[in-house]
């Protein structure tokens, strides 16, 4: 019953909620980012990060460092924390934690399939996969030539199997089919995750429904903008939007027929939560839209920690940590390319 979680939540979830709140307090602050933004080289970044919880993961890396190395090691820290929480979790929290990784699983499947289509070696593709999205039979994806084989040979035994019902065809895999598959799987995943959170009820359902609705709306905007000027038809574009969120259904109908970014702006500005996002982006500066969405997402994720006794804190922590890794990646790239004047273009402060 909503409002009475305090009576029972701590029996099974108290330890892990305390753990995740402890992890949250170790996220980098604005002062940390200011120090990092003043670094002259990647070794300076490594030195500054050695004083943080990333220190043990970077200390043995030899110079010269590469930006991908920094991102890999920081991601390993997130993976270790996630695995610790997963092995300590009981149902339904363990299922909730597994749901968080299905997005990475979809990305890894698409990476392997795309790389195989381009005749790349499967081992170098596996090295690039996100560790949170790995599963046992992932290497077998390389043998499939169409989606039916993909499903029958490999994915039928994975958590992604239920999401394939909408995109199984016998057409050979090509770039457009793979992109449609990616977005169709992600749409099915978001809808399933949303349904699962609603079954949990209480604060988890309320907070997660807001966070997942924002994710669905952001994906709809990105799909619209990225498909402008491509071969994707309006009907196919409409089919890739999730069946929930603030924009569902009328916003989706309008987005499906947009032919340029200003029309997308016109649609989104009718929705008050997104007016502020598009207000930050001037006409002709659509490239800043991603950053504006990240800023809004971080604000919503931080608010999740204001309430106790729910699972959304785990989702929020993983997403905030991923944002932190994106920040570190951007700072590293700007330092490595000697473009420190642009470092504040894409860094999103979490606290």
């Amino acid at each position: 019953m909503y409002g009475f979680e305090a009576m029972t939540f701590n029996i099974h979830g108290g330890y892990l909620e305390a753990i995740v709140r402890g992890h949250r307090s170790s996220l980098l602050t604005a002062a940390d980012y200011n120090n990092l933004c003043q670094c002259e080289s990647l070794d300076d970044i490594k030195m500054h990060l050695s004083a943080t919880e990333y220190g043990p993961y970077l200390q043995n890396e030899p110079s010269p460092l590469h930006t991908t190395t920094i991102v890999e090691k920081c991601t390993l820290k997130l993976v270790d924390e996630y695995k610790h929480m997963l092995c300590q979790a009981t149902e339904p929290l363990s299922t909730f934690l597994e749901y968080i990784t299905y997005g990475h699983m979809i990305d890894n499947v698409v990476l392997i399939v795309t790389g195989t289509l381009h005749e790349r070696d499967v081992h170098e593709l596996l090295d690039k996969c996100h560790p949170l999205g790995m599963f046992d039979s992932i290497a077998t994806l390389a043998v499939a030539t169409n989606m039916r084989e993909l499903y029958r040979l490999v994915l039928v035994d994975t958590p992604l199997a239920p999401y394939f019902s909408e995109c199984i065809t016998s057409e050979d895999l090509d770039d457009m089919n793979i992109e449609i598959m990616r977005n169709t799987l992600y749409k099915a995943y978001l809808e399933d995750f949303n349904r699962f959170c609603q079954t949990l009820g209480g604060a988890t359902a309320e907070i997660m429904s807001d966070l997942l609705a924002f994710e669905a709306d952001r994906r709809a905007v990105n799909i619209t903008i990225n498909s402008i000027g491509t071969e994707l038809t309006r009907d196919d574009r409409r089919k890739l939007y999730s069946n929930f969120g603030l924009l569902y259904p009328y916003g989706h109908e309008e987005l499906a027929i947009c032919e340029d970014i200003e029309q997308v702006r016109g649609v989104m500005e009718k929705y008050p939560p997104y007016q502020s996002i598009f207000a930050k982006v001037s006409y002709g500066e659509s490239q800043l839209l991603d950053n504006a969405f990240y800023v809004e997402e971080v604000k919503r994720l931080c608010l999740a920690f204001e309430q106790q006794f729910h699972y959304a804190v785990f989702f929020a922590y993983i997403r905030l940590r991923e944002q932190e890794i994106r920040n570190l990646m951007w700072i590293s790239e700007c330092v490595a390319q000697n473009q420190k004047s642009r470092v504040h273009d894409s860094v999103v402060f979490i606290f």
């Binding site: 990305d107 990476l111 381009h118 593709l125 690039k128 770039d175 951007w330 390319q337």
Partner: protein, 160 residues
């Protein structure tokens, strides 16, 4: 050289920005297409022989972007068996429009290794690298002109 350096730096930063928003798994060297395919952009080298200066050559470089000959402002490629000069002025404009559409499709196809739906940042990065290529060709042609002029000057000095 300054504009070349600037456009290259801009291109690399925009590529990093695209990787930042799309994710490392979507913008990565492991997605480059290893299947045999022809290059969408090539450099054509023509060598001219200046009339009054024997035994010297002047190379001229031209960039053939996205399968076209010449630049996009004055295309000379054949479309449907006709060149713009052969067609009437109205259909010539239509052929130019078709050519631009063809170049646009080839430009998008080059990015398809990163996915069919790529963000505007990646397209901007592509544009920056195209600008860099044009700058490199301009520098090469300028160098060729200077070296040829130097050769002619040396020949005149020797005669006198």
């Amino acid at each position: 050289m300054g504009s070349l350096s600037s456009s290259l730096r801009q291109g690399w930063l925009e590529l990093s920005s695209a990787r930042h928003s799309m994710g490392n798994s979507r913008i990565s060297s492991v997605l480059f297409d290893m299947k045999p395919h022809s290059s969408a952009t090539t450099v054509d080298l023509t060598v001219s022989l200046p009339v009054n200066v024997p035994h010297t050559t002047q190379p001229h470089f031209s960039l053939l972007k996205w399968g076209s000959r010449g630049d996009e402002k004055s295309p000379s490629v054949e479309v449907d068996g006709k060149t713009p000069s052969q067609a009437s002025s109205c259909s010539g404009r239509t052929i130019c429009g078709l050519l631009l559409l063809k170049c646009g499709r080839r430009r998008s196809k080059a990015l398809s290794m990163f996915g069919a739906l790529v963000p505007p940042k990646l397209r901007v990065a592509q544009g920056s690298f195209e600008t860099s290529l044009e700058a490199i060709i301009e520098i090469a042609n300028t160098r060729s002109t200077i070296l040829s002029a130097l050769g002619r000057l040396q020949t005149v000095d020797l005669r006198s």
